[in-house]
């Protein structure tokens, strides 16, 4: 079963050095997961200042700057993993370096048939 691990936190919390360390540790984690057959995908995201929101209303495209909602915690990255159950997914979430500073939300993925693989 696939789980999406969403990393939420204050996007200004890390210094440049801390960010580099975090990327290195996360890359290592991705390799470890891959060796276990648990890795599907992972990426950090650029800060919300780089975000663009798109809505289509009555066929008309509305493009605006920034995230849809202003909150104190922003989505900063994700791991998509394969795990046999929630306990295994929680164990992986606890190994994500940002779990020590912010919050990792574990969401089971809905498997719908017919998607490209």
């Amino acid at each position: 079963m696939k789980y999406m691990l969403l990393i939420y936190g204050d996007e200004h919390a890390l210094s440049e050095t801390e960010r580099k360390d975090c990327y290195a540790e996360s890359t290592q984690l991705a390799h470890d997961l891959n060796a276990n057959g648990q890795y599907v995908a992972a990426n950090p995201l650029h800060p919300t200042a780089m975000a663009t929101s798109v809505r289509v209303r009555n066929g008309k495209r509305l493009v605006t700057d920034g995230p849809f909602a202003e909150t104190r915690e922003q989505l900063g990255g994700y791991f998509l993993i394969d795990a046999k159950d929630l306990d295994e997914a929680i164990a992986v979430a606890a190994r994500i370096p940002m779990a020590r500073k912010s919050t990792v939300e574990v969401r089971p993925v809905v498997e719908i048939p017919g998607l490209p693989t």
Partner: protein
């Protein structure tokens, strides 16, 4: 078969239901991988039992018979529904082959099934109120109506919590397992928290007119016993000791009119000696493990009270010493407050008052009624009547329990008598 014999069988089925249904359910959940399917299978198995046992007699091992019948009924039902939903054919076939090994029904895995059920119901991914509802429903076998009545909520609210919890167990795939050794301490904490919450809800209702609701406390004690039978961890033993020692004072802590009676004013001849003896011996057992946690320490404190013939004969120095250890193991303002009260008993009211004022000055317990009523009591003993009045009034404004309110009103009235 005569009417009498039919009655006998149905009485026997009832007895088997009471003693075995939770274990049969726990095993069926593992075999069928689904709570709802297991409950339906349990129900079907008992329906067949009533018919068949009166005709053929009671099987040698009723529990194994019920598991096997429930499993068969579930697979059979799936086959019948497969006529409308082809995917069920495969599922039924899988279920039949993967669960046909009688080894899976042996006593050891069956004992483990009850632990699996407890840990799944108390999984931290479920909201706390759902953990409580699931545990009472699935492990203890209470109906949603009974749970709602005990928690002063509406049955649909409880039913909805249970439906959502089951949906999360299924969709987020919360596993039906006893946690690994690494996770066990944290996961056991969650289970103990649920048991203690159920006990306290029964022991001192958080609002409303009845101070104690016996059923829930009894249920929590039963859960505690089951837990140490299945998993004799020191803190589980300590928790059972704690709830037994607290429950031993039940008859003494309220007056016939439902008014609250403080520990120091209780008629100690009303304390339940059997529960005290059991609680004290469990405390010794938990302490001898050398892995002493907060429940065991609280139980040890309760044991010192339980063994004292009167408030004056209480070993307050020992109680303060235990609170010191508890402050290191699990520091909290409430523990600090209780320690301050014990210090007042050991060294006099002024020593305790200084400590309580320091806690209140930090702003930690400003809205906790027991902090103000403890302060009021020490002021009263020091003859500071005006201060005592102010603190009793603060406490009165903060409590929602009617018996506590009446108690504080009596104390206030007694102050007026003193001054007039």
């Amino acid at each position: 078969m005569s009417d009498d014999a039919t009655k006998q069988v149905s009485a026997l089925v009832d007895a088997v239901y009471r003693s075995e249904s939770r274990q049969v359910l726990a095993t069926l959940i593992r075999l069928l991988g689904d709570f709802d399917a297991a409950e339906e299978a349990l129900h079907d198995a008992f329906t067949v039992a009533v018919e068949q046992w009166s005709r053929d007699g009671v099987p040698a091992n009723p529990r194994a018979w019920l598991v096997s019948t429930g499993r068969f009924k579930a697979i059979d039902g799936m086959r019948r529904r497969a006529r409308f939903d082809a995917s069920l054919t495969e599922l039924a076939k899988q279920l039949e082959s993967s669960t046909s090994d009688p080894e899976e029904w042996d006593d050891e895995s069956v004992e483990d099934d009850r632990l699996r059920l407890i840990f799944t119901c108390c999984h931290p991914a479920l909201p706390p109120e759902a953990q409580v509802a699931m545990t009472l429903r699935e492990v203890c076998g209470l109906t949603t109506d009974e749970i709602a009545r005990a928690f002063l909520t509406k049955p649909p609210t409880v039913a909805q919590r249970i439906v959502r919890a089951k949906a999360k167990i299924r969709d987020a795939r919360i596993p039906y397992v006893v946690p690994s050794q690494t996770d066990l301490p944290d996961r056991l904490d969650a289970v103990l928290r649920v048991v203690y919450l159920v006990f306290n809800e029964g022991y001192s209702a958080s609002s409303g007119g009845l101070l104690t609701r016996h059923d829930l406390s009894g249920e929590a004690i039963r859960l505690g016993r089951l837990l140490i039978e299945l998993l004799p961890e020191p803190e589980a033993v300590g928790l059972l000791a704690l709830v037994l020692l607290q429950d031993s004072r039940r008859a003494a802590r309220t007056s016939p009119t439902g008014d609250l009676i403080l520990l120091e004013d209780q008629d100690r001849s009303l304390w339940n000696r059997d529960q005290i003896a059991e609680g004290v011996s469990l405390v010794d057992r938990a302490l001898s493990s050398r892995r002493v946690g907060p429940y065991t320490l609280q139980a040890a404190i309760a044991a010192v009270h339980a063994q004292a013939a009167s408030p004056a004969a209480t070993d307050w120095a020992q109680i303060v010493a235990l609170y010191d250890v508890l402050m290191r193991a699990d520091p909290s303002p409430v523990v600090e407050l209780n320690r301050a009260v014990a210090v007042a008993m050991r060294d006099g009211p002024l020593a305790g008052l200084v400590l309580i004022d320091a806690i209140l000055a930090r702003g930690d317990l400003g809205s906790y009624h027991l902090a103000h009523s403890a302060r009021a009591d020490l002021c009263r003993r020091l003859g500071r009547t005006a201060e005592a009045r102010t603190s009793y009034e603060r406490a009165l404004g903060l409590t929602r329990q009617e018996p506590e309110q009446r108690f504080l009103e009596r104390r206030l009235a007694a102050l007026s008598d003193q001054t007039s």
